[in-house]
Symmetry: D2
Subunit: 468 residues, 4 copies
C-alpha cells in the first residue's frame, strides 16, 4: 500500500466532521478523491491515528459550545504540536483545515433559497445576513481561536508565510489562504496599527530586526544602521498590538535641503550630520515590508501618508516629500526591448548611438554605464529607455515596474531620473545604476492617482522631455 | 405633497449609486418603494439636495480608488456633519447606507453561478472565495473607512447604540446593524482586548465612568466607589486600543474568606478592610457592560476567565470563585406562576403555606419577605420557587433568568440561594430580596456548560433539595 | 523616684556611645544634666532597658562598618517600632538622636587646630575639608540610612512634621531639626523635582490628595475639584522620586482672557468652560504646600517659574501671568492700625469717613464691607488701608503679609486690589473680602525682586494712587 | 612680562569677591601668591578682562538674591562658555571657584567663637548649626545652581572627571574636588538611584554605552554584547534621574548550575543558552563603574546587594551568589615577592620547584602558565602564591588587590582559585591566567566584612589549605 492509499484510507476512517463537507452527499466526495490522487504522501506524514487525533483536536478548537478561553487553550496545544512538526505533518494540518472545516453546504443551500425568495421584499436584509453568515466556515472560527492566545497572531502569520510559496502548485490551498488574508485584512486594518518612530534609542532587539528585514539597501553593520537613525534621519514603522515587537513595515527618511540624486551619500557612515533646521526635503529612501505572511494586506500607502503628516508637524519648514527609489525591473525589460527602443530613435540619434556602441549590444554596453560621460549617446539612450519604461510601459493597465506601481498607485509622480544614483553592483545589475525620485505632491495625490488608474503615468516635464 | 412623497421624489433624483442596488433592474425598485411607503418623513429630514450631497460624500468615502488616508479624511467630514445633525437627518444617513451601498447584485449572481458550476471540482475553493467577496458590500468599505480615524470607532459604536432601539419597528435597518455587528466582532475580538486592573490609582476620569456605567448595584458616591477599589477588592475591565479610555466591560471582585451571602457588607463603606492574605474566595459581585453599541459582541465569559487566571497568579491561596448575583426576573415570573408552584406543594406544606398567608396572595406576601423568620412557610415557599425558577425554567432551551443565562452559559453552576441577600427596594422588587451564588468550579466549567446546553441546569445538592 | 530621675539614671546606664558626646569627658555631662532637669518624663516613656535597646539599634544603623543595605534593613526595624510607638516613646528616640549622635568633639577639636595652623598655607584646602567632615555627625549618617529604604523619606518628613510644633518650647531639638532640614535641602533640591501636570485623568488617589491638601480655597467635593481640572484650567505639582505619589506643592491656574477680579467665578462648578484658544492670561489662584515636614525647603518660586515656562510653550498667545491672592493678614493688621490710618487722611476725606461711619469703628464697619457701594468713603478707606498694608508695611525689611512676602520675593509686583474678590466668610474675616493680583512681569522679575529686597515694594500706578 | 606675571596682575585687578577670601586681611594673600608662583600661565589662558567677566558671571550665579530659576539660566551661560573653552581657560574657571568662593572667614571666626562659648550650654545645638552653615561656601551655592539645569549634573560630573587627574600635582584644587564629592554623595545617594535591568530590549544607545564602558572583559562587538544579554544572563545598572540615560555602574551576571571556573565559556558567543530553570548559581563576572567624575561615591556594594535581592525574587531556586573575578595585581606583586615566597616553601617542595624551574626565574616561568599540567610544581607554587597574595597581603590593613578590596569589603569571602580561568593575554599578564571566585554568603556578609575590617581575610578551607 503506497502513501497515497493509506492516506485515502485514513481519511475514510476519520470520524465525520462536526459539519459535513460542502460536497453534495450523493457525490463521491470529489475533493478527497482529488487529494488522494494528487498528494504525494511522504513517509514523514502523519499516521492515520495521528491524523484522526489532530482532526479531533481541531474539532475541539472549532466547537461552538466551548468558551473562547477554553478554545484558546486547545489551540495552544495544536500550536505547540505544530512547532515541533515536520513539513509533511504541517501539510496534513493544512489539508484538514481545507477539507474538513468548509462552510456547511446544506446551510448555504438553504440560505440561498431564502435569499432568492426574499429579494425585493422586506425580508431581503435579513436574508442577506443569513446568507453571509452561512459562508462563515468553521475554519474561520478555528483560525480566530488560534488568535485568542498572545502568540496566536504570530503563529497564523508564519503559517501563511509557509503556505504562500506552495499556492502556485497546489491550488487546493487557496481557500485557507483566502480565509487568512480576509482575517488579516480586518485584524491588521490601518486603525489598529500604531505608527512608531524607531531611533537609536529604540530597543536593540528592534533595531536588529531592521538589519534583518531591510529589503532595499542592505544594512551591513550596526554602524550602518546607526547612521540611518542619526539626528538628521527618521525611521518609522507600523506596529500591531498582537505582534508588539515587530515592525510590519518601515520606512527610512533623510531630511536634507535638496532632492537627493544618489544613494551613496545617504548611506555614507562618515558623512557629517545634516543641519536638520535647514531641511526642506524629506527623502524616503527605503521602504520594507517585513512579514511575508501579510502579503496582500497593504500598509505602505498609509505609512507614507502618516509619516508625511508626522514630519510636517515636527518640521513645518519641509516643502518637498519624495523618494529616492530603485528601478528593479529596468535592465531586465531593456534586455528584451533594446532593439525596439533603438528603432524609435530619430535617424540622427540612432546613428550616433550605433557609432558609440561600435557593434556592441546595448545590454553589453550597459555594463559600463557608470563610466559613460554626460554626452555619451549610450547614456542618453539608457535615460530615454528608462523614461519609456517608467512612463509608458503598463501591465494590465498598471505600471510595469513594481516600485513604480507602488508609489504611482499612492498618488506620486515620476520626478527625476538620476544617472549613477546607485553605483553598487546590485544597482548596476538592476537598473544600469539609475535611480528615480517619485514626488509626493500633497495637493495632487488624488489627481495623480486617478491619472495612473486611467493608464496615464504622471511625469515631470523633465522626464516627459526624455520620451521619444 | 406630503413628506413621504417628496422623499420618494428625492430618491428618484439621486444620481445612480456607484454600484446598482441589489434589486433586479427590471423590478420597480421594491426597497425604495417600501421606504417610500413606510418612512414617515418629518420636516426635519434632509432636503433633496442635501440628501444628494450626503450621498456624494458617502460615495467619496466608498470610492475604492481613493487612498485609506484620503478616505479617512472624507469620513471625518461626514462624522463632523453627523455630530451636528438632528434625529431625522441621521436617519437619512442610515437610509442611504442601507439602500445605496448594498452588495452588487450582478456580481453576486455571477459569483453564484460560478460557485454552482465549480462545486466538487478543483475550482471550488476559488469559487467560494469569489462568492464570499461578492457579498462584501460597499457599505462594509464605508464603515471600515469611518474606522480609519482615531475617533471613528467611537462614532460607529455610538451610531449602533442609536440605531438598536429602532430595529424592532424598522426592520429595514437590519443589514446595517448586521454589518456593524460583524465588523465589531472582528475588531473587538478577545485577542485585541487588554485586561486592565482599575484601582483607586486609576485616572479619576476612568473611575467616573465606573460610577456612570455600573449597572448592577448603583454607585452612590466617590466614597462608595473608593470602597469598591479598596485593597481587599479588585476591579478589572477590558479595554480596546481604538477606545483607549473606555472600559468595555468591567467586573468588581471582593476577596474574602467565605462565600458571600449578602451584598450589604460588600457595599458598606465603613466596613474594615479584609485581610487579603486570608482570602480563600473571590466573589464577583458586579459585572457591567458599558457600550450599548456593542450588543451581541460578548466579552463577559472571557473577562471572568481572564480575571480568574490573573487572581490565581496573584493569590495562589484562592480556592473558590463565585458570584453574588441578583435574580432580576424572579419576582416577575413568580407573579405569574405562584399558583402553579403552590399546586406542586405536598398537601401538608400547602396547608402550612395557606395558613401562613392567611388569605393574602403570594405576591402580596412577598412584599414583606425581609420580615419573614427562618421557619416561615412563606419564606420556604419563596426559596423553593426561586430554586424552580433558576433550576428548571427554560426559554427556548436556555435559562429563563438573564443573569443565570450568562453565568450558566459560561460553565458556572447554581450554588446557593441567599435569603435577604439584597434588602434594597430594588432587590425586594426584583427577587423578594433573594440573591444567588453561581460557582465557577474551574475543573467542571466545560461539563457544566454542556449540561446547560443540554437543558439540564447544574445545581449544588443544597439547591437541588429545594426543588419540589 | 520620679520620671526625670529614672531617666537620668537610665542615661547613666547606657553603654557609652559609639563616639563620645561633644562635651569634655571630665565635665559633668551638661547636656544630660539639662535634659534631666527639663524633660518632664511621663510614665509612657521607655523603660531604661528599652531605651538601651533602642540606642543599640540606632548605633547599629550608624555603624560605619555596616553596608548601606544592612544599615537600611536595621533602619527599617526602627521605623517599624516607631510606627507603633506612643508620643513619649517617640520623644525618647528624638532625645537619643540629639544627645548620642552628635559630632565627635575630639575630632572637631583636632580638625580646628589643624585648620588654624593651615590657614594661608597650601594645606588650607585640605584642612578646610577635614574640618567640614568633622562636623558630619553620626546623626547625619543615621538619618541618611533611614532614607535608604523606599519608605524612609516619608518617615523622615513625617518625623520632622511631628517635631516642628515642639521646637519652640524645646530648643534642645534644634540640632535634629537643622540636620533634617539640611538633608532635605539637598535631597529635595529643585533639579530632583519633577514638574507634573495634574488633570482629571490623573489617579483618583492623587486628586484625593489635592482635596485634602488645598490650603487656600477649600475643595468641597469631587465636582469642585473636577471643575478646577477642567479643560480651561491647569494644575501642576512638584514630585520627588522618593515620595512618588505625593505632590510636594501644587498650583491651580485658570486660563482666561482678563485679569481675574474675584474668586467666585473661578470656583463656580456650573460656569461654562472658557475658550482656551482665546486665553491671554494665566491666573494662579491657589498654591499649596503639602508637607509640613519640608518647612524651610522652598519650592514655590521655582514651581511658578517652571509652570510659566510650560504654559508659554503650550499657549504662546498668553500675555499676562498673575495671581488672584488672598490678603490673610490685612484685617488683623487693620484692627490695630485703623486709627493711625484714619489720622493720615486729608481733612476732607477724614470728615467724609467719619460721617459714613456714624460713630461705628472701622473694624465693626468692615463687617459690612460687601454691602458698601463704590462711592462709600468706608470702602475707599479700606482700599487705601489695604494699599498701605501691602505697599508700605514691612517686618524686618520684608513684606508684612505672608502671601505678599512669597510673591514679591519671587519678583512679582502688586497689580490690583479687587473689592469683594472673596465674599466668603473666610474672605470677609481675613481681608474684608478684598483680594489682590500679583503680576509676574517676566522681563522685570529681577528688578522687582531687587526692589523688594531693598524694602521698596513694586506697585502698579493704580495701587500707587491709593496710597496716602 | 611673563604669563605668571600678567596673571598675578589680572588677579589684582579683579573686583573684590562678593565675600572676602578666608585669609586674614592683613596677611599678604598667601593663596594668590602661591598661585602666582606655581601656575605656569599659558598664552591660551584668559585675558584679564575675560577673567574679570567670568568672575562676574560666577558671582551672578552665586548671588543669593537671585531666584533659583534665574541663577540656573546664568549657570547655563557659563556652561555654554565652558563647552567651547580650551584647557587653560577651563583651569581659570577652576581657579576662580577655588580662590574666590571660599567660606567667609569672618563669619567662620564668629561662628567658632559662638560655638566655643556655647559648648555644654543649652545654646550648643544652635551654635553647632551656625558653625556648620558658616562652612557652606558660596562655592557650594554656585555648584548647586549649576545643577538646577537638566544638563547641569552631567556638566559637574564631567568637570570633576577632568579635574581629578590634575589633583596630584595641584593640591590647590582639593577644596573644589572635595566640594564636588560632598555634593555628589548626597545627590547620588543610594535611595535616589534606580536599579534597572539592561537587556537586549534596552535602547541601542544604552547598550552602546555598555560596549564603551565595560572595564573588565572588553566587549568586542554587538554579537558579544548580545551574548551577555541572553536569556540566561542578567545585566543591571544603577541610574539617576539627573543623568537618565547613563548607567552609573553596571554588573553582568550569568545564571548557571555551578561555580564558574573560567571566563571563556561565559564570553563564548556560540555557546548554547543555559536552561535558566536549572540555574543554582548567579555568577557576577563583570562590574564596571562608568563615571570617572563620581570617584569616591560608592555604589558597588549596594548594586550587588540589590541585584541579589532582585534575582532571588525572580529565581527562588538560586543557592549561590559568587563572582568570577580577575586578580589584577597578582603578577606585579609576584614579580617582587617570588623569592620570599619560595623561601617559605618546605625544603622538599622548594627542591621540586627548583627542579621544575631548571634555573628559570618564576616570573619567566609564569609566561608559560597555561601550559603547565596539574602536577607541575610551578603551577602549585603559583597557586600558593596567589592564595598568599589574596589571603594575607594587606595594605594599611586592607586587602592589597583592588578587586579583593572591593568584594571582601562588601562581606564576600575568597572561595576558589581557578587555574587558567582567564587565558587571554591580559589575563596572563595580570595574573598568570588565574581567576578567583568571591562568594557572597548572604548569612555571613556582616561576619566576613568584620573579619576583613579586622585584617583577617575570610577564606574557604580549600584556599586556606594552599597557604604555606
Amino acid at each position: 500500500m503506497n502513501a497515497a492509499d493509506w492516506f485515502a484510507r485514513s481519511l475514510a476512517l476519520l470520524k465525520p466532521a462536526a459539519r459535513p463537507a460542502p460536497a453534495a452527499p450523493d457525490a463521491p466526495r470529489p475533493l478527497a478523491e482529488r487529494l488522494r490522487a494528487t498528494l504525494r504522501r511522504e513517509p514523514e506524514a502523519l499516521t492515520p491515528s495521528a491524523l484522526r487525533r489532530l482532526l479531533a483536536q481541531l474539532q475541539g478548537v472549532a466547537d461552538p459550545h466551548v468558551s473562547e478561553v477554553e478554545a484558546g487553550r486547545r489551540a495552544r496545544q495544536v500550536m505547540a504540536w505544530y512547532a515541533g512538526a515536520g513539513a509533511a505533518e504541517r501539510r496534513d494540518l493544512w489539508l484538514l483545515l481545507v477539507d474538513r472545516f468548509a462552510p456547511d453546504a446544506e446551510e448555504v443551500r438553504a440560505a440561498r433559497a431564502h435569499y432568492d425568495a426574499a429579494l425585493g421584499t422586506p425580508e431581503q436584509g435579513a436574508a442577506e445576513i443569513r446568507l453571509r453568515s452561512a459562508f462563515v466556515s468553521p475554519r474561520t472560527r478555528v483560525l480566530q481561536r488560534f488568535a485568542v492566545d498572545r502568540g496566536g497572531l504570530r503563529f497564523l502569520v508564519d503559517l501563511r508565510a509557509e503556505l504562500l510559496p506552495q499556492l502556485k502548485g497546489e491550488r487546493w490551498l487557496l481557500p485557507l489562504d483566502a480565509e487568512l488574508q480576509a482575517l488579516f485584512s480586518t485584524w491588521f486594518d490601518v486603525p489598529f496599527l500604531e505608527l512608531r518612530r524607531i531611533s537609536w534609542d529604540s530597543p536593540a532587539s528592534l533595531i536588529e530586526k531592521l538589519i534583518q528585514y531591510e529589503a532595499v539597501h542592505d544594512i551591513r553593520s550596526w554602524a550602518d544602521v546607526k547612521n540611518r537613525l542619526d539626528s538628521d534621519r527618521r525611521c518609522y514603522g507600523f506596529f500591531h498590538p498582537g505582534l508588539p515587537d515587530e515592525p510590519l513595515i518601515f520606512v527610512e527618511v533623510a531630511l536634507i535641503d535638496h532632492l537627493a540624486a544618489g544613494i551613496a551619500p545617504l548611506l555614507d557612515e562618515q558623512a557629517a550630520v545634516d543641519d536638520i533646521a535647514k531641511a526642506t526635503t524629506a527623502i524616503f529612501y527605503s521602504i520594507s515590508n517585513t512579514q511575508a505572511g501579510l502579503r496582500g494586506v497593504s500598509f505602505g500607502d498609509s505609512l507614507i501618508k502618516r509619516v508625511v503628516e508626522t514630519l510636517r508637524e515636527e518640521f513645518p519648514q519641509l516643502r518637498q516629500f519624495a523618494t529616492l527609489s530603485p528601478i528593479p525591473g529596468f535592465r531586465g525589460w531593456l534586455a528584451k526591448n533594446a532593439d525596439a527602443m533603438r528603432a524609435r530613435l530619430p535617424e540622427r540619434l540612432r546613428a550616433e548611438l550605433d557609432r558609440a556602441l561600435g557593434g556592441e549590444s546595448v545590454p553589453a554596453a550597459a555594463e559600463r554605464a557608470l563610466a559613460l560621460d554626460e554626452k555619451s549617446p549610450v547614456r542618453q539612450f539608457l535615460l530615454r529607455s528608462a523614461a519609456q519604461y517608467l512612463g509608458r510601459e503598463l501591465d494590465d493597465g498598471r505600471p510595469l515596474d513594481p516600485v513604480a506601481r507602488f508609489h504611482l498607485g499612492n498618488g506620486a509622480r515620476v520626478e527625476r531620473l538620476n544617472w549613477a544614483g546607485d553605483p553598487s553592483p546590485k544597482g548596476l545589475k538592476q537598473s544600469c545604476g539609475l535611480m528615480v525620485n517619485y514626488l509626493y505632491d500633497l495637493r495632487r495625490l488624488d489627481k495623480h492617482r486617478a491619472m495612473t488608474l486611467a493608464g496615464r503615468i504622471p511625469l515631470s516635464s523633465e522626464v516627459e522631455r526624455l520620451l521619444l
